[in-house]
Amino acid sequence: MVEAIGVTKRYGPTTALDAVGLSVAPGSTHALVGRNGAGKSTLVSVLTGLTPADAGTVRFHGRPAPHLADRDAWREVVACVYQRSTTIPGLTVAENLFLGRHPLRAGRLISWRELRRRARELLETWQVDVDVSRPAGELTVEQRQFVEIARALSFGARFIVLDEPTARLDGPAITRLFEQLRQLQRQGVTILFISHHLQEVFEICDTVTVFRDARHISTRPVAGLDESDLVADMTGEVRLPGAARSAAGDAADGGLLGAAPVMEARGLGLDGAYQDVDLTVRPGEIVGLAGIASSGRTEFAETVAGLRAPDRGTLEISGRPARPGDVRAAIRGGVGLVPQDRHHQGFVANLSVAENATMTVPERLGPAGTVRPSARDALARTLIDRLDIKTDGPRQPVDGLSGGNQQKVVMARALAGDPRLLVMVSPTAGVDVRSKETLLSNVARVAAEGTGVLIASDELEDLRGCHRVVVMFGGRIAAEHAAGWHDNEMVAAMEGIGHA
Amino acid sequence: GSSTKGGASSSKPLVGVDYPRADTDFWNSYIKYVPQFAGQQGVTLKTTNSQNDISKLASNVQTLISQQVKGVVIAPQDTAAVKPTLQTLAAKKIPVVSIDTRPDSGKVFMIVRADNKAYGEKACRFLGTKLKGKGRVVDLEGDLTSINGRDRTDAFNACMKQNYPGITVVGEPTNWDQDTASRKLKTDLQGAPVNGVYMQASFALSGTLQALKQRGMLVPPSNPKHVYIVSNDGIPQELKDIKAGQIDATVSQPADQYAKYGLFYIKAAIDGKTFKPGKTDHGSTIIRTPQGNLEDQLPAPLVTLDGGSYGGITSVKPDDTSLWGNHLGG
C-alpha cells in the first residue's frame, strides 16, 4: 500500500529520520511507536507530502509519490490527522471540514446551506455537538481534535494516518474514535496509527513498527507481543514499565503528614464551568482531579493557577487568599502550572528552551532585573537533565523540539520555581512511555519533597499515582476515590454513571 | 479661512477659493490674506484645501460648483492635470482665476503669478555678480515633481551657463524637505569649497545656516570664506536674516498680491469686466500667454541688504514697506 525506503530528513544539526524504511500492507492497521523525538511526526509529514525528504523515496501502490505541489493528488492517496492542529481558527467548523472541497451549486458557486448541512451530518456520525457555523477557534481542544479526525476520515482516502489522535481526547471520545476505526478496518482501509498509549496499539493494531533515535528498530505483528518488548525496543534497554507508579507510591508514604493545606478552595464557582467546589491539597499530597472534557476540571485547575477569576467562593494558596486571576501573584505565591494546550499557553515557540524553562523565575536569573545568560543556561541544564528533555542544548528554539519534548519544557517551566503547589492539566498528553515515567516520577519526587500536586486529567496513568482522586462531573464534585481504585470504576465515575 | 457668514447676494457674489496646500509658510500667508481681501473686494467666500493633490482639487471644485459659486480661484500645482477641471468650469460658464501657475491648456479669465523663471534668474544674477563669475554654487532645488521648482531650477541653470560659465552648479533635489536639504548640503560641503547657496524656498533656511555654522563658514561678506546665500519666498524670518547679515538676498513672492488680485480679477469677471495686455495700475504688466490666456505678472522684488542693483536687476531693502513680509502678524 505505502512504502517508504531509506527516508532521511535533517533539521539543521538534528537528524529527524535516518534512512528509515516503512511498509504498510493494504488493509492493515499499522502502529508506529517510539519515544518523543524518534521521528514519527517527521515521517508523517514526509508520507503526506508536507515536507520533502532529504533522501529516500515514498511509493503508494508501488507508484512513486505525487509531486509536492500537486496537493490534490496527495489528498487522493492519503488523509491525515496531524499532531499539530490544522484547523483554521478564523473559519467556521463547517468550512474547516470541507476546506478546498466546498459543495458547489450552479455556476461553480459555493452552496453554504448545503455545506452546513453536510457538516452537521458528518459531525452527527461522531456525536459531536457543536454549531457548525461557529469559528473553529472557539472550540475546545477535544472538539477541535474531532473536527480534524472527522475531516480526515471523510475524504474517503484508502490510506489514513493518525498522529497521536488520542492525545487530546478523553475516555468516551477515544471509544467513539475506535468504533469508527473498526468500521474503516472492515471497509479494508489502511491505517497508520501513532500513539504513546501502548494498550491502544494492542487494542486496534495488527502490526507495530518501533522507531528509536530517528532509526527503524523493528516491525512485528502485534499478536503474541507484550508491552515490555515494545518498551525495550523503544528505549533500547530492558526495564519494566510502571516504575512511575511505584515511585509515586513511595511518595504516598512520605506525604499527607503535611499540616496546613497548600491549597484550599471553599464553595468555589465559575459560571458556565463549575459550581461550589470544595477542595484542599496538603503538602506532599498528589490529588487527582478526574473528569471528562465538560466536567469543569480544567477550568477549576486554571482558576487555582490564577488564569481565571472565580465568580464566587474563596481560594487560599498556602494559607493566604489568592489574588483572583493574577498569574504572577500565583507564581510568587508558589504555584507552578502546566497548562492544557502547550501551543497556546505553554511556550514561546521561537524562544530557546532555556528562556522558556526559566520564564517563571526571572528573579533567579540575575540581580536587579537583569538576566545572566550563563545563569539561565545553567538553571535550564539542570531542568533538562531532570526531565530528560531531548534537545541540542538550552539554546535550541522550542519549535525545533518534538511534541513530547515540548511538553517537558512546559513541565520544566512549572517546576523551575520549586512550587509549593503544582497544578497540571493533562500533563502527559503526547508524551512517550518513558518520558511519561520521567514526568510522573518527577511529580512524585516534588511531592515527596513536600509540594502539593493537583493533576487535572482523564488519563488513568496520570491519576494512578495520586493519593486520592476527586472526580468531577457536570461542574460539580461527583465522587472521590482513595488510591488503589479500579480502572472501570474510575471510568464509570468520569462518565457520570451512578449519579447526576 | 472658513466661509464668511451670509449667502451670496448679487452685491457680494459667492466665490470659491481652493488653497493648494496649508503646510508651507508661503501658502499659509496666502491663506491668511484671502479672507482679509475678500471683504475689501466685496465677495463672499467658500474655501477648500486640496492638500497639494490635484485629484482633491478636482473634487473640491466639484463641491464648490454644487454650492453655486459664481467664480473660482485656484492655484493648481500641476498645470497639466487641471485641464479637465477647467473644462468642467468652462462648461458651467464659471470664470476661473489661476494663481501662481499657468495651466498648460484650458481657458481661464486671468492668471495671477510672479514668474518662477524670474526667481531663478534673479538668484543667478545676484550670485553671479557677487562671485565675480567663478566658484561653486549649491542649488537646493525643490521637488522635481513641482512645476515651480522646475522653473526655478531651469532658469537658474540656464542663466548660469549663459552668463557665468565659470561657476559650477551642484543641483540637489530636496522634496521641499529641510532635513534632506541640510543633509545634501553637508555632503556637498565635504567636497570642494562652496561659495554660494541658492535655496529655492525658505524651508531650507535655518538648516542651511546651521550646516554652515557647524563648519564655521558663517562669516561676514568681508571675509573671503563668506558663502553667499540667496533664499526665496520673502517670509519675515528671511528679511530678519538679511538685516542680520546671515543671508545675502531673497526673492519676495507676493503672497498678499496673489490674494488681493486673485479676488480682484474674479470679482471683475463676475461683474463682466474685461482686460487686455499692457501695464496695470499696480506696477505689473498683463501679457497674453501662448495658450491665449491673460496673465498679470506681479513683480517679485529681489531683496538685498543694500538694495543695490545686480546684473541689471534692481533690488529693494529688507525693510521696504512694499514687502508682504513686513506687514504680517507672523
Binding site: 496537493r71 490544522t86 478546498g100 | 478636482a58 473634487s59 466639484q62 454650492q67 497639466a80
Partner: protein, 335 residues
C-alpha cells in the same frame, strides 16, 4: 456571505443567518454621517455631490479591493500606490510622441496604452510574487522597497513632469458616462461585486481565507497555497493599475506623484472595514463600506469649510473615530 464573518460577532454565534451582519457594522456610521452631512450643508445629498464623492473615491476604492485580496491571504502590498501611478505612467511614456512638450518615446500607437497599463501592473505583480512567494521575503518590506523604487521610476521616466495630451483610449473610463453616471463608478461597483462573489462564494476565494488563517493547514487541506498567493498578489497589482487608469482618465494626465501617500488611506479603509492585517479575516463588502465612510466624511469636512490648516488633524481624528466605532460594533479585540 462567508460564514467566517461570524468570527467577529460572537454574540450572534447561534444565528448564522445574521452572520453577514458583521459586514454591516459600518452602515450605522455611514447613515449618521449622511445625516450630519445633510445638516451641515443641504448640498450633501444632492445627486451631483454624491456622484462626485463616488467618482473621487472610485479609483482608491479599487486599490482597497486589491489590498483586501492580499490582506485576506495574510500578506501585504504597500507598492499598490506606486503601481497606481507607474502603470499608466509607463503606458503614457511609451505611447506619447517623442520630443516636444510630450516627452514620450512614441514607440507604440495610442491604442496600446490601455493594454500596456494592465501589462505593467501584471509585470509588477509577478515580480512581487516572485520575491514574496518564491524567495520567501517579507511581504511588507519587499513591497515597501518596490513602492519606493516604482515611485522613483515614475519620477525618472517623466523627469518629474506630468504626462498629458494622452491617447483618448486612456481617458475613456475616467471621463465617459453611462446613464449620467461616470463609467469609473460603474466599473468600481462591478469590480467590488465580483470581489464579493469570488471571496464569498468560490473555492479559490475561500482558499485565500484558509491561507491567511493558517498556511500549513491550508496546505494540509490540499490547497496549492503558493499558486493561490501568486494569483492574489498579481491580481492586486493589475487592479491597482486599473485604478490608476481610472484616475488618469479623470485628470487627463499622469502626474509624477500620482498615488503617492494613498496607501495609508487604503489600509485605513480596509481595516476600518473589518479586514485583519493578520490575514484570514474580513470581507470585500466590509472594505467597501470602509472606504465609503472615509470619503463621505472627507466630503462633509470640505462642505463644512474646515479651516485649511486643520484639515489634516481632522482626517486623522476621523480614522481613529471610525476605528473605535468599528471596534464597538464588532465587539472584538483587533490584532
Amino acid at each position: 456571505m462567508p460564514d467566517n464573518a461570524t468570527v467577529t460577532l460572537p454574540g450572534m454565534r447561534r444565528l448564522p443567518a445574521l452572520a453577514r451582519l458583521r459586514d454591516l457594522a459600518l452602515i450605522p456610521a455611514i447613515i449618521v454621517v449622511a445625516i450630519v452631512g445633510q445638516a451641515v450643508n443641504p448640498v450633501f445629498l444632492e445627486g451631483g455631490n454624491i456622484i462626485n464623492v463616488l467618482q473621487t473615491m472610485s479609483e482608491i476604492a479599487v486599490m482597497v479591493l486589491a489590498e483586501t485580496l492580499v490582506l485576506v491571504a495574510g500578506k501585504m502590498d504597500l507598492s499598490l500606490e506606486a503601481t497606481f501611478g507607474l502603470a499608466p505612467g509607463i503606458a503614457a511614456w511609451i505611447c506619447l510622441p517623442a520630443g516636444g512638450s510630450a516627452h514620450g518615446l512614441g514607440w507604440l500607437g495610442g491604442a496600446w496604452s490601455v493594454p500596456l497599463t494592465l501589462l505593467v501592473g501584471l509585470a509588477i505583480g509577478l515580480l512581487n510574487s516572485l520575491l514574496i512567494v518564491r524567495f520567501g521575503l517579507s511581504a511588507f518590506i519587499v513591497t515597501l522597497g518596490m513602492q519606493i523604487t516604482l515611485h522613483g521610476m515614475l519620477t525618472g521616466i517623466s523627469g518629474g513632469k506630468t504626462f498629458f495630451n494622452l491617447p483618448s483610449s486612456m481617458l475613456y473610463i475616467g471621463t465617459a458616462e453611462w446613464g449620467g453616471v461616470p463609467v469609473s463608478i460603474w466599473l468600481c461597483l462591478v469590480l467590488f461585486a465580483a470581489g464579493v462573489g469570488v471571496l464569498g462564494w468560490t473555492r479559490a476565494g475561500r482558499s485565500l481565507y484558509a491561507i491567511g488563517g493558517n498556511t500549513d493547514a491550508a496546505k494540509a487541506a490540499g490547497i496549492r497555497t503558493d499558486r493561490v498567493l501568486w494569483v492574489a498578489i498579481t491580481t492586486a497589482s493589475v487592479l491597482a493599475a486599473v485604478g490608476g487608469l481610472m484616475l488618469t482618465g479623470r485628470l487627463a494626465s499622469v502626474a509624477a506623484a500620482q498615488g503617492t501617500g494613498d496607501i495609508f488611506t487604503v489600509f485605513a479603509a480596509a481595516v476600518i472595514g473589518g479586514v485583519s492585517l493578520n490575514g484570514g479575516k474580513g470581507t470585500v463588502f466590509g472594505a467597501f463600506t470602509g472606504i465609503l465612510l472615509l470619503y463621505m466624511i472627507q466630503n462633509v469636512l470640505t462642505l463644512a469649510g474646515v479651516p485649511a490648516q486643520w484639515i489634516g488633524a481632522f482626517n486623522g481624528a476621523i480614522i481613529l473615530v471610525a476605528l473605535i466605532l468599528s471596534r464597538i460594533t464588532s465587539g472584538k479585540r483587533q490584532e
